[in-house]
């Protein structure tokens, strides 16, 4: 149970980072932390202590196995996270070229 709570704490740290930080790069890092927290939580759901891979072999009884499905899903989710991060970093670099700053309180041309 405590591992799940720690995941939640990690998620909240990421959320705090996105909401409170003013530097664009730090916001992107915060997004990364949120993604990792969710991925970690997803993997932990299927994990068992001393569990093993669910590979079926002859004359073997597998009593304690790890659910492989969350791991496959998290792999997909990590790839998606990579694409999003790459795109946002590219946008951040272009923003720096246009505005000359990473501070979001100075990047305010859109109003209303």
């Amino acid at each position: 149970m405590s591992t799940y709570l720690l995941c939640l704490v990690l998620f909240c740290i990421g959320l705090y980072c996105v909401l409170r930080k003013r530097n664009i790069i730090k916001i992107i890092i915060g997004l990364g932390i949120i993604e990792y927290a969710v991925n970690l939580f997803f993997v932990l759901i299927g994990y068992q202590i001393h569990g093993r891979a669910p590979i079926l072999a002859k004359d073997q009884v597998i009593s304690n196995m790890v659910d492989p499905l969350p791991q496959a899903l998290v792999l997909t989710s990590i790839v998606i996270g990579l694409a999003v991060t790459a795109l946002i970093v590219a946008i951040a670099i272009r923003i720096y070229e246009k505005y000359g700053t990473f501070d979001i309180s100075k990047i305010r041309r859109l109003r209303g």
């Binding site: 916001i27 759901i45 969350p70």
Partner: protein
Amino acid sequence: MKMLPFFVIIPLGTAFLVSLFGKKIRNFADIVANLGTLCLLLLSLYSIQLVNAHKVLVYKVGGWLPPIGICMVLDGLTSFMLVTVNLVSFLITIYSIGYMEKYTDKYRFYTLFMLLLSGMNGIIITGDLFNLFVFLEIASIASYALVAFGTEAEELEASFKYAVMGTVASSFILLAIALLYSYTSTLNMADISLVLSQKGSGVLVNFVAVLFLAGFGLKAALVPFHAWLPDAHPSAPAPISAMLSGVFIKVLGVYALCRVFFNILGVSDKIFFILVILGVISMCVGAFLAIAQRDIKRMFAYSSISQIGYIIFALGIGTPLAILGGLFHLFNHALFKSLLFLNSGSIEYSTGTRDLKRLGGLNRQLPITGYTSLLGSMSISGVPPLGGFWSKLIIIIAALQAGYFVSATVAILVSILTLAYYLKFQSYAFFGKLNEAWLKIKEGPGTMRFSMIVLAILCVSTGLLLIPILRPFLQSAVNVLLLGNGYKDVVFGAIR
């Protein structure tokens, strides 16, 4: 049944081909993209007939049976949404042939556009919750890139804001899926619904519902979560604004919300109540903020928030008539909002500005844009013979029948406000004295005029969807939502 994966395969394949050969062969991107969307439109129209004949069709990806493998489901709601999306996207690709000439790298635009389309079609057609998340991310990433397509300072800023909020929303959705998987140990939508009905839903399912509401609500730009929309939608090129406001927020927000709440988790009175409150707040806030705007596209973006409020309000009432009104309004809004954004693109194409104060008297110079936008504005503000009137009328009657008197009054007042700001748009842009600077401007290319005229004709004629012959198109979609938990029985029935 074999045709279901083609809703994803065609746009993905087109995106691949366009990105590969688009630069080398002239006009290749235009032709292939338009052929692709035309095929999708024909397929989606054919799917109406399939739904009439079979009710539900299930395609098993790779031949695995659903609780284990991924499946694609075609039912009334799916085919209704597919027609909406592909009709609008077909007209928008035609419009882009002329409009996107002023941008460099037109083929990249089409690549991203097709990725966006494949993501949306995938969300609509999939029957698997994680698959829905993957398609949602494909569509979202393509839309972040498309918002920044002009790479000017404002566009990048809007895109960054949108990308940050969109990623947080996606994380909420993924977290909800993880929790739901831990509770039901399955990802198939029908199977989740089955397990939930056997196991009963506890506190965890309520928490999951809240996470889904926050995630999809952010994608649909309901009011507490709306901050990204008025920046992101106006910054994109006009065809993309039309796509984002017209269908994107409806597929990622409203459709996904409906599917998850009505068919998987099951709706309770609490959820209905929350939807009504969110809908009414969105309606009012969107309308009040729209009145004050000077930028045409920004005004339309706020108006989108307001109209999405109507749809969510109608779904929250939850009676059969209200759901009919909500889905009908969704269809209408897809048509007239994309028409209005295309009009704003046409104004920007000819004059180079979107500022209402600098425009005026354009009716003489841009007659087609002027009259089509008049039809669009009248339809969205609910002037009687046009489509928007009927859907709003149905929503308000349903609200009165269900006893929501205050909300119904608010809906009527917001409708009057809508009329007010669209009249403001019309009088500032198209009536009055012509600004000296615009004496020599002309309408855009023929492709732009063609799609505006077609959309205007459709806006006028959507009221016909209520006559008995055409009504099954809407009614079958409504029936899927009314089915509620029975969705699982229908899907499992179609497998066996």
